[in-house]
Structures are given as structure tokens and as C-alpha cells.
């Protein structure tokens, strides 16, 4: 089931939150949805879920609209905690699970399995407000996926978790994908996105600035990083033709170059001058791409 956003815009009064967004989110994949704060991610998610109607454009999932009738197929983890603070984990999940079409027994079986998996079975009868932020996040995550949805939207799922728990949840997300669920994943942590997603899109002020397969995005970005460790001064590389950026480090420098071929010119120039300890051509990280595409306006 493919999720298609066709030229979708959303305006609130004079401000445009989402501007002509077109996306195709493939089935059984984790799709990365990136953007700075206030880029329009949450608004887009709300439109996908049918909570808001787009000002223009259409959203289709497998050929039809999404609304509350399809809620048993959809899972949603909002950026901020969405749980009743006074309810016990058990009551909470039974209520939300029932609303998504499960029976009480099904919820209990699944819930116990998940709590076991997240190594917190003792939380079954604890109130949400008694749990730590990270553990609330686990419960929130379980509530989003307990009904085995076909489409899951995870808005910043790993915030407030320690590295061990992040790994645990990441594994769960990957398992979910392998079982055939399509996942839309939003995060500020580029390393997570790089690790999990095959396709992604970067939103900036409501407009999409990058979109496509991670591999292609890196490729077409063109620019590469070049790490050089060498004896002597590398200062002359600062003005070498094709070098975009020069950043000195203790043992040498890191360069950003326009394309791969420049590295050959640099290598030849260096060879004659210095003793080279390290010469490494590196793919740009998603972080670099994000900063380049989104950060331009901040400067």
C-alpha cells in the first residue's frame, strides 16, 4: 500500500505551513521525513492522518483517503506524549487498543509480549505519571504499534531514550518493517535516519528541498569530503581550485571538494610536497547535506 501526497499545501491564514509537497512513500519501507523545527512535519502528519484537511492537493493511501474508519490500519506516535497521566499502562493500552479494533484479550497478550521485549514487564500496572520520560516513550511506542498497523507514523520516536533503549526501539522498528509495515519516520538525528531509511525527504519552511533514495541523494549531492593527514603545512589547499571548504585539524585538514576528480589533482600536488599519512575520500554524511540544504537560510 503506497502512500501518495500529490501537490499538497496547507495554509493557516497568511502562513504557509506546507507548500506544494509531492511524495510517494513506498510500501514496506522506512521513509525518513526530515526538517528543522517548524518545517511543517507535524502538520504533514496530521494531514496524512486526516486530522487536518489540506488547503490544496490530495493525499491517497492505496487509492483512498485516510480517516478514522481506517484507524485499525494506522499507528501514530505523536512527537509529544499522548497518554493519560492518571491511568495505568494496562487500562490505557486496553482503551486505545479497543478503539483500534482489538479485543481486550488480544491487547493484553500483545502488551505483555512487548513489555517483556522492552524489559519492563513490571510496568503493566503502573500509572503513566509514575514512569520516567523514557519509559513513557516505550509505552507510547507500544500503543502506536500494538494493533499491527499497515502504516505507522513515528514522530521523533527516540527522544528521551538512553542509547541502549534507542537500540532496542530501533530493532523493533526494523522488525516492524520486515513484517510488512510501511513506516514514516521523523527525527532530528541524521545518523538514525541514515541507518534506517532507504528513501527520505527534507522539508524546509514547508517546501521539500531534497527527496529520493538515500544512495542517490548522496551521489547527486556531488560534493565529497576529503580527509588528509600529512606532515607540513597544507595551507596551500585552502585556495586550490575545486576546494569548497577548508577545515584545519590537528593532524592535517578536512576538505570539501566539488567532485571526486578534484581529489586526484590534490593527490598529485601533495605527493611532490609532503609525506602523506592518510588520504581518504568520504561520502558526504546526511548531516552535511541537511546543513547545506537547510542551513543556508540560517546563516
Amino acid at each position: 500500500m503506497t502512500l501518495v501526497l500529490n501537490n499538497v499545501s496547507k495554509r493557516f491564514g497568511n502562513t504557509t505551513a506546507v507548500d506544494h509537497l509531492s511524495l510517494e512513500i513506498p510500501e514496506k519501507e522506512i521513509f525518513g521525513f526530515l526538517g528543522g523545527n517548524g518545517a511543517g512535519k507535524t502538520t504533514t502528519f496530521r494531514m496524512i492522518l486526516g486530522l487536518l484537511s489540506p488547503t490544496a492537493g490530495q493525499i491517497h493511501w492505496n487509492g483512498s483517503f485516510i480517516d478514522h474508519h481506517k484507524s485499525h490500519l494506522i499507528g501514530y506516535l505523536p512527537e509529544e506524549r499522548g497518554l493519560y497521566p492518571k491511568l495505568k499502562v494496562r487500562e490505557q493500552l486496553i482503551y486505545l487498543g479497543k478503539l483500534r479494533g482489538m479485543t481486550k484479550q488480544e491487547v493484553l497478550t500483545e502488551l505483555k509480549n512487548w513489555l517483556e521485549r522492552f524489559k519492563v514487564p513490571e510496568y503493566l500496572d503502573k500509572k503513566i505519571e509514575e514512569l520516567s520520560k523514557g519509559n513513557q516513550q516505550k509505552v507510547q511506542f507500544i500503543s502506536a504499534i500494538i494493533h499491527q498497523p499497515k502504516l505507522v507514523i513515528l514522530d521523533e520516536p527516540f527522544t528521551g531514550l538512553d542509547p541502549i533503549n534507542v537500540e532496542m526501539l530501533k530493532e523493533a522498528v526494523v522488525d516492524l518493517k520486515e513484517q510488512g509495515t510501511s513506516i514514516v519516520f521523523s527525527s532530528h538525528r541524521m545518523d538514525h535516519v541514515e541507518e534506517l531509511c532507504e528513501h527520505l525527504c527534507i522539508l524546509h519552511k514547508g517546501k521539500q528541498v531534497v527527496q529520493g533514495a538515500l544512495f542517490d541523494i548522496k551521489r547527486t549531492f556531488g560534493k565529497k569530503n576529503l580527509i588528509i593527514h600529512a606532515d607540513g603545512s597544507l595551507e596551500f589547499l585552502r585556495h586550490f581550485s575545486g576546494v569548497v571548504q577548508y577545515k584545519p585539524v590537528t593532524q592535517g585538514c578536512i576538505l570539501q571538494i566539488e567532485n571526486e576528480r578534484i581529489s586526484q589533482d590534490i593527490f598529485q600536488a601533495l605527493q611532490e610536497k609532503e609525506f602523506i599519512r592518510k588520504f581518504e575520500l568520504e561520502e558526504p554524511s546526511l548531516n552535511d547535506i541537511f546543513i547545506e540544504k537547510v542551513g543556508a537560510d540560517y546563516a
Partner: protein, 417 residues
């Protein structure tokens, strides 16, 4: 429909299980039980007190016996005792609490009684009044005797005038019916007033809690806002029914247990004995519609609030509205036929109270009732539609909830285009 019941039962169950609900129900039940047993409670305390002794110095030597008879026959707890010593020692005896009071009786020059009352404090009016009244009667009979009027003539003079009221309109309610209707109208007004304030607040708070804890985003992605809103309203209504039902049930149980004590007291005062069944039917109809109207409003207001602390502020207009309706109805109880009440009874926010008051106390043509019901139901439907829109937009609005301008924003946010 399935989801409607899930939300309804969830709303109901989570509320029923709260400590606040249990405590408030138990306290009210204790209060009802206490109220029903008020006579026994008063007796319990007054039994401990011995009869109050009052010393009488009768300087005229002729009034004591008749005064003693008169006072003791009307007041069980007073005992008049002839006191033969001096006035001063009598006052001392009162100070020593041998007597509750000292009364010095004398005849004036016109041969009419006079009295001086001595007590530690003169704030306890009971015994003082009793003696004064009896003395007054004594004075009247002495004075009339002196004037040569016999007791029979006196009786005829003092008998109340006979004053009969007859309504010429055949269908008009009799005096008795009106006073009975006043009782049930009164009960219904108070019940509606309290329910709207208590349960309306609960609804608004529930919605605000869900919104501020952001569960709402998950909820409205699984259920339509209209279903959610009405499931919530019905859930709280059921809760109210449980509570009020419990109160009425326990109250009724106690009253029927003490049937003899109560028959002819409370029932007659509230006119619950032989009011016609149609009045009860109207009471239920107007109560349910009144609750729905205000509950929808409360849910709508609740959805505009981002923080629970602001609920109170947003509920103020609603509470004012029901208060105005209530006070108008209080006024209407004594003037149900005034143009003011008649006109206002068609304004939907006042209809549940005022139209019911008119139905109960007057004979109004059926078309008037039907018309007001139509306006009321129409308003509820309108409010429900508007409420659902505001609800849908409102629950996604966060930040400062400071003004009713949010109202417009909420509707704009839920627009379908």
C-alpha cells in the same frame, strides 16, 4: 457505534473509580441520611437536656395557675414553678442555674398583667416567647372579661374569615395543584442547575485533560470528533444518573422506612404525592434536553482550552447563563404568567427551566410546548454541529487559550477545503 460504546464506558468507568467521585457520593449520601433522620438527631440532643425550670413570682396571686397550664400544655420542655422568696434571691438562683429564668408577674392599675423576665442571657428566644404569648392570651381574656364580653363572642371575633378561591376557566389548575406543581418544579430546577454545573465542569475538564495530555490526537485519529464528543457527554450523563439515582434511591428507601413520620410532611411540601404523571414526563424531557444543551456547550468550551487551569475561566460564561436561567425561574415561581417569563421561555438556554415551570404551574396550549421544544432541539443540533467543528479544530490548537477569538480559529482549522 462500537467505538461510541468503548468511549462511553471508558469515560464512565474511569470517573466512577476515582476517589473524588466516591468521596463526594458518600458525603452526599451521609448528608441525605442525616437529613432524613434530622428529627431523631435533634431528639438525641434535646433528650439530654432536662426540662427547663422557670421560677415565677406572682405578685397578683391569681395568674400563676392559668399561665402554668397554658405554657406547659404548649411546651413539653418547660416547667413553671411558683417561687415564694424575694426577687433578689430568685435572681441569684437563676445565676446559680437552679432556674433557667425568673419571671415576676404583677397587675397594673388597670388590672391587666405585666411581667419582667430575668435570665442569664436573653438571646434564647424560645421560653421567653412562649411565656409572652401565653401572657398575651391571658391579658386578652382578662381585658374582655372586664369589658363584659363573653368567651363565645370572643371566639367568633377571632375566627379567621372564610375566603374561597374559584378558577372560572375549567382547565385552570386549582390552588392545591399549583402549590404541588411548585414543589416538583422547584426540585427539577435545582437538580438541573446542580447537574449542569457539576457534570458540565466534568465534561470540560475531561476534554481539557485529554487535550493537554495529547491523547486527543490519537483519539480523534481513531474516532470521529462528533462520536467522541457525544460518547463523552453520554458517559458523564450516565455517571450523573448513577449518582443522582443513588441519592434518590437511598432517600426514597429511608423515607419509605419512616413512612409514618414523613407522610404529610415532606411529600406534601414538595407536592410529590398526586402530581399528574404528565408533569413527570415533561420534567424528564426538559431535564434531558437541558443537560444536552449545556453539556454540548461545555464540551465545546473544553476543547478550546490548552491547559486544565484555564477550564474554570472558559466555563464562566456557561455558568453565568445557567445562573441567570435559574434566578429567572426563581422569580417565575411567584409570577409564572408574567410576559417576561413567557417570552424568555422560548429562548433555548432558558427553555428547560422556564418552559417547564410554565408547564407545571399553568395550563398552556400544547403548541407552545411543542414550539419551544422544537427551538430547543434545533439549537442543540446546531450547537452539536458547531461544537463538533470547534472540537475538531480546537483539540489541535495549543498555546495560550486566552480569548474566545480561539473560537473562530478553531472553526477555520477544521474547515473542509
Amino acid at each position: 457505534m462500537r467505538k461510541f460504546w468503548i468511549i462511553l464506558s471508558h469515560t464512565y468507568m474511569t470517573r466512577v473509580k476515582t476517589k473524588a467521585f466516591l468521596i463526594s457520593t458518600i458525603i452526599t449520601l451521609l448528608f441525605i441520611i442525616g437529613l432524613a433522620n434530622i428529627q431523631s438527631i435533634i431528639d438525641l440532643f434535646s433528650n439530654d437536656d432536662e426540662t427547663k425550670k422557670i421560677a415565677i413570682i406572682d405578685e397578683s396571686e391569681e395568674m400563676f395557675t392559668s399561665l402554668k397550664e397554658g405554657v406547659e400544655s404548649t411546651n413539653d420542655d418547660l416547667e413553671l414553678i411558683r417561687y415564694d422568696e424575694s426577687e433578689e434571691s430568685g435572681k441569684e438562683a437563676v445565676k446559680d442555674e437552679d432556674f433557667a429564668a425568673l419571671v415576676v408577674l404583677s397587675m397594673n392599675d388597670k388590672h391587666l398583667p405585666e411581667a419582667t423576665y430575668y435570665a442569664d442571657t436573653i438571646s434564647e428566644a424560645g421560653e421567653q416567647m412562649a411565656i409572652e404569648q401565653q401572657l398575651q392570651q391571658l391579658k386578652v381574656s382578662l381585658a374582655t372579661q372586664q369589658a363584659g364580653i363573653d368567651q363565645e363572642t370572643l371566639g367568633a371575633i377571632q375566627a379567621p374569615v372564610s375566603f374561597n378561591k374559584v378558577a372560572l376557566d375549567e382547565s385552570a389548575k386549582t390552588d392545591e395543584e399549583i402549590s404541588q406543581a411548585r414543589g416538583i418544579v422547584y426540585v427539577m430546577l435545582i437538580l438541573l442547575y446542580v447537574s449542569v454545573i457539576v457534570y458540565g465542569m466534568m465534561i470540560a475538564q475531561d476534554v481539557a485533560t485529554e487535550k493537554s495530555s495529547r491523547v486527543m490526537e490519537i483519539l480523534i485519529s481513531s474516532v470521529s470528533p462528533v462520536t467522541q464528543m457525544f460518547a463523552k457527554i453520554s458517559g458523564i450523563a450516565l455517571l450523573g444518573l448513577t449518582q443522582v439515582g443513588l441519592f434518590i434511591g437511598v432517600g426514597y428507601g429511608i423515607i419509605s422506612m419512616k413512612q409514618d413520620e414523613f407522610s404529610g410532611e415532606i411529600f406534601e411540601v414538595f407536592g410529590l404525592q398526586d402530581t399528574s404523571p404528565s408533569v413527570y414526563v415533561y420534567a424528564i424531557i426538559f431535564f434531558v434536553l437541558g443537560y444536552l444543551l449545556y453539556a454540548t456547550l461545555a464540551a465545546m468550551l473544553g476543547s478550546l482550552v490548552s491547559r486544565i487551569e484555564d477550564v474554570q475561566q472558559f466555563m464562566t460564561p456557561l455558568i453565568f447563563l445557567i445562573m441567570i436561567a435559574f434566578f429567572m425561574a426563581m422569580f417565575g415561581l411567584s409570577a409564572p404568567q408574567s410576559t417576561f417569563i413567557t417570552t424568555s421561555s422560548y429562548i433555548p438556554f432558558f427553555t428547560p427551566m422556564l418552559m417547564f415551570l410554565r408547564v407545571g404551574m399553568l395550563d398552556i396550549p400544547i403548541w407552545e410546548i411543542v414550539l419551544s421544544l422544537c427551538i430547543l432541539i434545533g439549537t442543540i443540533i446546531l450547537l452539536a454541529l458547531l461544537g463538533a467543528r470547534v472540537y475538531k479544530g480546537g483539540v489541535l490548537m495549543y498555546g495560550q487559550s486566552s480569548s474566545l477569538r480561539d473560537f473562530k480559529k478553531a472553526i477555520a482549522l477544521s474547515k473542509k477545503d
